[in-house]
């Protein structure tokens, strides 16, 4: 009995530790005063200022476009790569897999810097394009890692049966293999999408010429001091994440019930 209370207390403390800072940001995003020790009354002005801030809005735009494009392209390249890798001979396969794990294991800062050196070496102007290329690059391995296990579970004979029944290899691929591994592809896509949304370090080194994403903007704002606009931004992002996760979770539990 005591044990169970202790457990509850412990869990409460940890959750408090995780959420207290976020809650403080949310509460203070409605604070009239710019200083943070005192409460001067309720206001929505920081939200209005946030939406009028050109820099933040263009950063938001870049973040979303980059996330959509990079995760889509990475999913396409990554899925194809996974199918290819799955059918490779042992030696070549382990070579390619080592290559795949390299950016996953490499510290972000090294990946970011090496890409920056590459772009400068190739004389590509740092900006939107380089940011996109960098995001695709670090996203692909995660797609492959998500798709490969599904391919392993795949029954080899289905594909062969399809061929025996007269399907062309590409038809069999589209109609037999892809639908079977779809859950892995979707996981990979979502993973890539979130990683792209959240990335700071690699973006920081591979962008330039005034193109920035949300993370970079928050970093430069935070370096300038405490700004209630960031609090407002945090609140919006927190609520969005919360809603998204709740919706996803509801859907998942619903489909589970139907399946059962």
């Amino acid at each position: 009995m005591v044990m169970s209370y202790l457990k509850k207390l412990y869990a409460f403390i940890i959750f408090f530790f995780l959420y207290a800072p976020i809650m403080v940001l949310i509460v203070f995003s409605f604070n009239e005063s710019k200083s943070r020790g005192s409460w001067d009354g309720f206001t929505l002005k920081w939200y209005i200022e946030l939406f009028q801030d050109r820099q933040i809005m263009s950063a938001l735009y870049n973040t979303i476009v980059i996330a959509i494009l990079s995760s889509t392209i990475a999913t396409a390249i990554g899925t194809a790569a996974a199918i290819g890798i799955h059918n490779m001979k042992q030696f070549k396969r382990s070579m390619v897999m080592n290559l795949t794990y390299l950016p996953v294991l490499n510290p972000d800062i090294v990946t970011g810097i090496s890409l920056m050196l590459l772009f400068i070496f190739l004389k590509i102007r740092l900006g939107f394009l380089t940011l996109l290329l960098a995001h695709i690059t670090f996203n692909i391995p995660y797609v492959i890692i998500s798709v490969l296990p599904k391919l392993k579970q795949l029954n080899k004979h289905i594909y062969e049966a399809a061929l025996d029944l007269g399907a062309s290899p590409s038809y069999a691929l589209r109609k037999v293999i892809i639908p079977e591994i779809m859950p892995g592809i979707i996981t990979g896509f979502l993973l890539a999408f979130t990683l792209s949304l959240d990335d700071f370090v690699i973006s920081f080194f591979t962008t330039g010429s005034g193109v920035s994403n949300l993370s970079i903007t928050i970093y430069s704002m935070a370096r300038r001091g405490i700004n209630p606009k960031i609090n407002a931004l945090s609140t919006i992002m927190f609520v969005t994440v919360l809603l998204l996760l709740i919706i996803v979770n509801k859907r998942m539990s619903k489909t589970n019930i139907i399946k059962e």
């Binding site: 995780l18 290559l99 800062i109 090496s114 998500s146 996981t187 959240d198 935070a222």
Partner: protein
């Protein structure tokens, strides 16, 4: 199925964007810039082994190590609580644990800046208790706190995902054989959860040792970590050669620790988190 042709776009892509850039870093690392162009030299590495830079390396490892240990101590019991089968609303609680991880980590770090300041919430609270304000921000402790806060979920979730897979009958068998709950924990649960612990340690230690943001924002530029050193060389000093050499040292460091970890981690493959 026709062999690897379908993966050739990928292989070309990775050659251009992963292999070639790393070769560039290698090239810069083992050369120095002279008036006549680049000259092969190990000077950069020699420079890295000067006491001042070893101090930075040592500080990075020390802070990352402390943070990892704190994450483990705080996280393991939490993972056990979450993994408890009788827990009501378990999915919700796990979800609650994941949400902060989905928030931009800069925002999470920023949240602590507002809390720790001299005029921040914690100090205003202390002043109600008539305690004079203390410097919390821009200290080594603040940097460690930032690391623990940001990386704690990376410790809890892998351990959690291993713990829920433990066969309950094993635990019952142990109890039937007379083990008390402490012995069960020590002799059965903990050994079985080792793969989760290992991947948790990796997932906390690696980002912690290479971070430059947390030390910059919460340490006020005073606690140079190896990540800050690299950033400085590339973005402020412009000494790409020295910066590359430090990056190479870091890659080697990470690869060694990964090799070390993978010995313990056979089936888990580090995918436990997702």
């Amino acid at each position: 199925m026709k062999e690897g042709r379908i993966s050739s776009p990928y292989i070309i892509w990775m050659t251009i964007f992963i292999v070639f850039p790393i070769l560039l870093i290698l090239f810069f690392g083992i050369t120095i810039r002279t008036d006549e162009g680049f000259k092969l030299s190990l000077e950069n590495f020699q420079r890295f082994f000067e006491p001042i830079y070893l101090l930075v390396l040592w500080r990075s490892i020390r802070l990352a190590f402390i943070s990892t240990v704190i994450c483990l101590i705080l996280g393991y019991p939490m993972a056990m609580i979450l993994a408890n089968k009788d827990l009501k609303m378990k999915n919700t609680l796990v979800l609650l644990f994941v949400i902060p991880m989905w928030m931009n980590f800069l925002l999470r770090t920023y949240a602590w800046m507002t809390l720790l300041e001299r005029g921040g919430i914690i100090n205003s609270f202390l002043s109600l208790l008539r305690i004079p304000p203390i410097n919390l921000l821009y200290t080594e402790e603040a940097v460690i706190l930032g690391m623990v806060y940001n990386f704690l979920p990376f410790m809890v979730l892998p351990i959690y995902s291993v713990l829920i897979k433990i066969d309950k009958s094993l635990l019952e068998a142990a109890e039937d054989l007379g083990a008390d709950s402490y012995t069960v924990l020590r002799k059965v649960i903990f050994p079985l959860s080792i793969p989760g612990v290992i991947s948790g340690i990796t997932m906390v230690f690696m980002p912690a040792v290479t971070t430059f943001v947390i030390s910059r924002l919460l340490g006020g530029g005073q606690f140079t970590l190896i990540g800050n050193l690299i950033e400085q060389q590339f973005l402020f000093v412009g000494d790409w050669n020295f910066g590359s050499a430090i990056s190479i040292v870091m890659i080697i460091l990470i690869l060694i620790s990964m090799g070390f970890m993978s010995k313990y981690e056979k089936e888990n493959e580090g995918a436990g988190l997702w």
